[in-house]
């Protein structure tokens, strides 16, 4: 890990009342890799995502993106700097068409935006449904639409919150291939995922959270054998 990290989180802490959701958590991501973020329910994964993307305000700690501090910036600024995210629960814009869902994101001129949006709809094979209201699409299609939408930001770093949840096998394989292609384009990806098979097959490096603390990190094989990780998931 000699290359400068694209994202560097140091000693990040976030509390909700008396609950410390993220506790002095540090991690660094090298560009062009796929990272996993795992941990039992309530271990602070989504809160960590929210802090990085400015949806939650951290209580302590520093977040640097490409060397620049982004903690304390409003969410839309973080997004425009190049950090895109998807949500655990689908959050498309239901009364906008699939195409419009993508158009609102781009800051290119209209023709350029339409061209890019059509290209991305093709990428997730929704080009036939461009004029359909997003709310009328199936669950899987909405998931793909959200995935295409985040790419309209041209993000250097993509945070995916449970991309595999509720997705059938065929769709899942397509999604995983798409994620790998994004990595090959040089983007960095951080995935929260519960499906261990997906994590082990996709990620090159995995962080493990438990009660808001990072308890382990390493390549998937090492994580699978780590005593602390097994304890966190199954108890002593």
């Amino acid at each position: 890990m000699t290359e400068a990290p694209i994202l560097e989180v140091s000693e990040l802490t976030k509390r909700f009342g008396g609950v410390t959701a993220v506790d002095r958590c540090s991690l660094a991501l090298t560009p062009g890799r796929i990272y996993g973020l795992i941990g039992p329910n309530g271990s602070g994964k989504t809160t960590l995502f929210n802090c990085i993307t400015g949806l939650a305000v951290r209580d302590a700690g520093i977040i640097r993106f490409r060397g620049r501090r982004v903690d304390g910036l409003p969410s839309h600024r973080v997004a425009n700097l190049g950090i895109g995210r998807t949500f655990q629960v689908i959050r498309v814009f239901p009364e906008l068409t699939a195409l419009e869902n993508l158009l609102v994101v781009s800051r290119r001129d209209r023709d350029g935006a339409v061209a890019r949006a059509r290209e991305l709809l093709g990428f997730v094979r929704l080009d036939g449904l461009a004029g359909e209201y997003a709310g009328n699409l199936s669950y899987g299609q909405q998931k793909l639409l959200e995935f295409a939408r985040v790419l309209m930001l041209e993000p250097a770093l993509i945070l995916l919150d449970e991309p595999a949840a509720g997705v059938n096998r065929t769709l899942l394989n397509e999604l995983l291939t798409a994620i790998q292609r994004l990595r090959d384009e040089g983007r960095t990806i951080l995935v929260v995922e519960h499906d261990m098979k997906v994590v082990m097959g996709l990620c090159e490096w995995v962080f493990v959270l438990d009660y808001g603390e990072k308890i382990a990190e390493g390549p998937p094989e090492a994580i699978r054998a780590d005593a602390r990780v097994i304890e966190a998931y199954f108890g002593r």
């Binding site: 993307t53 400015g54 949806l55 409003p74 969410s75 839309h76 997004a79 425009n80 895109g84 995210r85 949500f87 959050r91 498309v92 814009f93 239901p94 009364e95 906008l96 419009e100 158009l103 609102v104 994101v105 800051r107 209209r110 935006a113 004029g131 209201y133 939408r149 985040v150 309209m152 930001l153």
Partner: protein, 309 residues
Amino acid sequence: MRHVRWLLVGALATTVVLLALYPLIASGYGIRFMLQLFMWVALAQSWNLISGLTGYVSFGHVAFFGTGAYTTGILATTHGWHWLPAALAGGLVAVLLALAIGFPCLRLKGPYFAISMLGLNEVMRVLVSYFEGLTGGGLGLSLPTLYASVPIYYAMGLAAVVVTAVAYLVITSRFGLRLMTIREDEVAAEAMGIDTARHKLYAFLLSAFVPGVVGGLFARDQGYIEPIAVFPLAFTITMIVMVLFGGKGTVWGPVLGGVALFVLQELVWARFLYLHQFLFGAIIILVVLFMPRGILGVLQQRYRLPRYV
């Protein structure tokens, strides 16, 4: 879809020409009727710009109307301003009020914003009643006599046309789509790089100008204003019902809703004084229950109509 567009353009041009010629043959009642019709279309469309698009329901939009009315009233009585610049000044003051109130209030979500706007209207009404020296207080303000029904007819018509043209430009642009993302999912909009605070404020300012102007024209036309007459909650409710009925967030919904409900109200009101209030209540309930998108919203979904329809 091409023929739809031409049909629309043709129908619009014909309507505008006919309305422009109407004063030549109209009776005094006819002019007054149409003048009020234009006023309601303009008010409903203005409400649509903020609430129909962003989903931030303004329960006090009549505050801008009343502010415009009093601005015009004061300028006309104490400074002898001509009605037209006075009404435009009313619009400007309404925008300044929106700017001042928009910063804090647009941070509030959902029902809290609605209630804060309700409060704004009450505050404005009390303020106007309190500064008696300037406004005449509860006794009201009598404006210098003016015989200008026909010019005000044209001005009201123009206000309705302008705000509808603005709605058209906004709704068919990406700016308008971004306003809709705020209604659809504000958190996701932020995460997708949309500066929601700025967008909301712009929409709010846009939505305040025409009610201010229209309030000024109303004051000039009536010749007498008092706090309870230009800050009534019922006006805001009427705007809301018109937009919900016609189709929120669409270009033509507020026009359709404004025309349909105003005509209906006049027909019923002329015969049964209180029945129209009951009728409006019933329409709110029915629309919310069975047709939350309104007439145009339903048509758009069913026939996949483009947003300019």
